[in-house]
């Protein structure tokens, strides 16, 4: 079985401050990890992924995420948040030999001007 936990329902930051959205996972096997963003009344958009290689991966819109195998975490980060980053963020996981993604419950990010 595979699962994802996003421990924070909401994250609030001021514009220009660093943004971190937390994600921990549980899988039997090598994890493939993903972050998606959902803007109001829209479908999910792919942000970035970790499959193998460097633990720090960079994605769209200045976001990056760090894979930590020992802590089974894949936190999403942005050095300087923008008001336009306000959205719902989902972490997702699958094992390398599978293709079905399991999603976390989502974290609502609000960036105030």
């Amino acid at each position: 079985a595979q699962s994802v936990a996003q421990p924070e329902d909401q994250v609030n930051v001021a514009e220009g401050n660093p943004l971190t959205v937390k994600c921990t996972y549980s899988v039997s096997g090598n994890p493939y990890l993903f972050w998606y963003v959902q803007y109001p009344n829209r479908g999910l958009q792919f942000l970035l992924k970790y499959i193998t290689g460097d633990n720090l991966v960079k994605g769209s819109y200045g976001f990056e995420a760090e894979f930590n195998k020992s802590q089974t975490s894949f936190h999403l980060k942005k050095p300087s948040a923008l008001v336009s980053d306000s959205a719902l963020y989902f972490c997702a996981v699958r094992v390398s030999i599978d293709y079905k993604l399991s999603f976390g419950a989502g974290t609502t990010v609000t960036v105030r001007a």
Partner: protein, 113 residues
């Protein structure tokens, strides 16, 4: 680039009615998926397909059916609608196992009254 197109965007059904949610993609992706999104619950996989003529159940298939007669289309059928099926439904597609992420449609908001 149309990507993944879902119709309708909104629908209100009465208990016991049936309907089909349409999903079509123009990227020649072989894998397609149906998810439902409920507040605070993330996305749950309903059905998926790895190619034309092949479908399989996900986490929450009860009350739904699918077919995949072509690569492009993956309709989701709701039989005897129930209030528990009130949700936002997303169709997604991927090239092979989705190592480069899924492409999502914009969703169908369904209310059963």
């Amino acid at each position: 680039n149309a990507g993944v197109t879902q119709t309708p965007k909104f629908r209100i059904l009465k208990i016991g009615q049936s309907m089909t949610l349409q999903c079509t993609q123009d990227m020649n992706h072989n894998y397609m998926y149906w998810y439902r999104q409920d507040p605070g619950m993330g996305l749950k996989l309903i059905y998926y397909s790895v190619g034309a003529g092949i479908t399989d159940k996900g986490e929450v298939p009860n009350g739904y059916n699918v077919s995949r007669s072509t690569t492009e289309d993956f309709p989701l059928r709701l039989e005897l609608a129930a209030p528990s099926q009130t949700s936002v439904y997303f169709c997604a597609s991927s090239r092979n196992r989705g190592d480069y992420g899924y492409t999502f449609g914009s969703g169908t908001r369904l209310t059963v009254v």
